[in-house]
Assembly symmetry: C2
Homo-oligomer: 148 residues x 2
Amino acid sequence: MGTGSSPCASCKLLRRRCAKDCIFAPYFPPDDPHKFAIVHKVFGASNISKTLQELPVHQRGDAVSSLVYEANARVRDPVYGCVGVISYLQTQVSQLQVQLAMAKAEILCIQMQSKSAVAHEVQQMDLSNKSINGSSQLMNISSESFWA
Amino acid sequence: MGTGSSPCASCKLLRRRCAKDCIFAPYFPPDDPHKFAIVHKVFGASNISKTLQELPVHQRGDAVSSLVYEANARVRDPVYGCVGVISYLQTQVSQLQVQLAMAKAEILCIQMQSKSAVAHEVQQMDLSNKSINGSSQLMNISSESFWA
């Protein structure tokens, strides 16, 4: 008997006596009959009971949660169930990996362009300075030749 | 009876006569007994039969494939099954989304730094030119004052 005096949701649905050590009772309280109904519909009470019995007590709660999730997915999508969700997520992972690879390539490209732009500006500046220095030197030469 | 004269893998395991219109036969051939054994262990033959009956014929093949995948995942990981795969993929999606957001932010940052670096070089070049032109003008003035 799980909580209080009511039989657990599983025993209520299966119309059987809810024993003190009922394996379902801790996970299927009487106030949430849908939770057991859906896993019973997809997996069957006997398979759930076997799965829980084969697991240590501290892992049974997680197992029930994952079975409920899986059963809901199968009821929502009877053809693909959870596998539909997996397929969608795998596509999302692939798309994100492509986008990330493109972004990384863009970073490299911009970094190279940036270096190249700065180098170009420096080169232009050097050329411009040389040209100006050339004129100044020419002027110095004329001034010097005047004083010579 | 699915293929040839042998009963299908399901009817063989369930020790029953494999009828001509057996719902399992097209998907569970006798040469792959493990395929039915695993879905039977996880979902139960009765639930699989119900699921297939509720689907149009052209979707049953996909449904069997997803049930086999799901059953294999549950046998491999009795606590989380397919939900463990979903959880892993969701984490991967989140990590990739963060990495992509960081890469996009880095692109913006580099683009701004690049513009700023070019602007700085141009400014430096202008200042340098002005300084050289200033000296030249000074020299012109001295030359002019000499001729004046």
